[in-house]
């Protein structure tokens, strides 16, 4: 069993997997600098980046809407999900299991089911489809991720810290703000990040609950790629991939919580 031979198969598989992941993305990057409108190389050019940044007002409008929804949904989801996780973790309730299962349900349901039920629900209660309905849907599907990330963090830390705080005379509110929340800070950051990513990403649920005038970035991209290849999307893809990579680098120490989902 030589060390070279030992890892040959898995090493090959890793290379295959990484090539599978990255070759398409690299090709997109390459052709985003293509002068030609088609996928045939005709010389380098930044014209599609110019088109993307200077002449795509609709795209940027949709991006603005996506950001608005991502910020609001991730804030509200993190607030509700964190409090709920702390409450369920440290207090005894009869309905603990029911609430936990209910909270995790969106993780288990296919996205389309969520989308369809929101659509029918909103039309039943007469809520017009638009940014607000998207915000509600996004908050709902982000809450379980927040809940899981926070629970993983709470699992890690020692309950005696809380008891020590009470022992030292702290009030409930002081314990929450001075002990629990600081200890949970990395998990809260991870929750915000995860929720914002999921919200920015979401296409299927948004597709059902969006109304006229509430086109988010994924919906906009969808409408573009339905008509096939476009060099502007190539450029947009590169911007998004680079943006993702930068955010991933900046937040790599939060990975632990994101992966545990």
């Amino acid at each position: 069993m030589s060390p070279q031979k030992r890892g040959l198969f898995t090493w090959t598989m890793v290379l295959v997997t990484l090539a599978f992941f990255y070759l398409p993305l690299l090709l997109l990057t390459f052709f985003s600098f293509n002068h030609s409108k088609s996928m045939v190389w005709e010389g380098a050019s930044f014209r599609w980046y110019a088109a993307l940044f200077l002449h795509s007002p609709d795209l940027w409008a949709s991006f603005g809407k996506s950001i608005m929804i991502a910020l609001s949904a991730s804030l509200v989801a993190t607030l509700i999900g964190s409090l709920g996780a702390i409450g369920l973790y440290w207090y005894a309730f009869k309905s603990k299991r029911v609430i936990t299962v209910l909270t995790l349900l969106p993780l288990l349901l296919p996205e389309i089911i969520m989308g369809v039920s929101f659509l029918i629900f909103f039309s039943k209660i007469g809520l017009p489809l638009g940014l607000f309905s998207i915000f509600i849907a996004h908050t709902t599907f982000c809450i379980p991720y927040v809940f899981l990330i926070m629970t993983a963090r709470l699992d890690e830390f020692d309950y005696s810290v809380i008891e020590a705080a009470y022992d030292l005379g702290a009030q409930e509110w002081v314990v929450l703000t001075n002990v629990i929340l600081p200890i949970c800070r990395p998990a809260i950051m991870a929750s915000l990040l995860m929720s914002a990513t999921l919200s920015l990403e979401d296409f299927v649920i948004t597709f059902f609950v969006a109304g006229p005038g509430s086109t988010t970035l994924p919906l906009y991209i969808y409408s573009m790629i339905r008509f096939g290849v476009s060099p502007v999307i190539n450029a947009l893809s590169v911007v998004l991939i680079v943006g993702t990579a930068i955010i991933a680098v900046l937040t790599s120490r939060l990975f632990k919580y994101v992966i545990q989902k």
Binding site: T10, M13, F21, P24, G81, L108, L109, P110, F121, E172
Partner: protein, 281 residues
């Protein structure tokens, strides 16, 4: 601890999930038992019409098709993910590999689908190259078939298989493989008799993370599939938005949910079941 302040913590969560998750799901379930309205929507008349409509070869075919496409994609993902995750878990540079897997995982879902449209589409890189070289006169139909749906499903959900497997294999005690080799097992026997059973829970959660989104898929077949690769999600959307048969759409949704929950139960039970205790076969 004191329960009163506990309620303050969980009240927002319970209210939100109760009103905005349970209620919509309840409504969809009830709609599946109502009669179709004249101009879309429903009329208040209880009937099993929607389910009777479902009971047809057409829908059975779509159901099996969905099962087949998502099943094949899931198996491919697991087969690719186990060696990859194993290598990552044994590597000294775990963070680097993890990072390389996370980037495509976080890259926009539609962009990942689009990458394949740009490569395999009629105006895509492959066809354009072949046309330019003169090997073909007409673009090949590389996209818009069941195979391209499977390919893109694997591409989009593979990280979902790698990540849970990685975190399980990372906890695996690799000296067990040496023990198995010591007891006469070949490398392959050690793998499937010791590693695979020990990471069973990871395999089942990988199955779960891949199969459920693939099974309820809408976007991938809508963008790179054709009529042969229609999945249940596409039928639901069609009935909802084009045909405007809401009860039927609700009934398919109910069926899809039940099938998902069934798969979930099977995976969870299989994944958490203790190893067989009976020693003699």
């Amino acid at each position: 601890m004191k329960s009163r302040s506990g309620y303050a913590y969980i009240a927002p969560l319970s209210l939100w999930m109760g009103l905005l998750l349970l209620a919509p799901i309840g409504i969809i379930l009830s709609y599946s038992f109502l009669k179709r309205g004249l101009y879309g929507g429903v009329s208040n008349q209880i009937t099993l019409e929607a389910y009777q409509q479902l009971w047809s070869p057409l829908y059975a075919k779509v159901f099996l098709n969905t099962l087949l496409l998502s099943g094949i994609a899931t198996v491919i993902m697991i087969l690719m993910a186990i060696p990859t995750a194993y290598f990552m878990a044994r590597s000294k540079r775990k963070t680097l590999w993890l990072f390389l897997i996370i980037i495509p995982f976080w890259t926009n879902f539609l962009i990942r689908i689009y990458a394949w449209i740009a490569i395999l589409g009629n105006n895509g890189i492959v066809n354009q190259c072949l046309l330019r070289v003169g090997w073909i006169d007409q673009p090949l139909r590389l996209l818009y078939n069941p195979l391209s749906v499977i390919l893109v499903l694997v591409y989009t959900y593979l990280p979902f298989a790698i990540l849970p497997l990685f975190s399980t294999i990372e906890k695996f005690d690799f000296s067990l493989l040496e023990a198995a080799r010591d007891l006469g097992a070949t490398r392959f026997q050690a793998f499937y008799k010791v590693l695979i059973p020990a990471i069973k829970s990871g395999i089942f959660s990988a199955l779960l993370f891949c199969f459920i989104p693939a099974f309820g898929q809408y976007a991938v077949p809508a963008l790179v599939g054709d009529s042969r690769s229609y999945m249940m999600g596409n039928i639901i959307a069609r009935e909802l938005t084009i045909t405007r048969n809401w009860p039927l759409s609700a009934a398919i949704s109910t069926l899809l949910t039940l099938a998902t929950l069934f798969a979930l139960m099977v995976f969870v039970i299989q994944g958490s079941r203790p190893a067989r205790v009976k020693p003699i076969e």
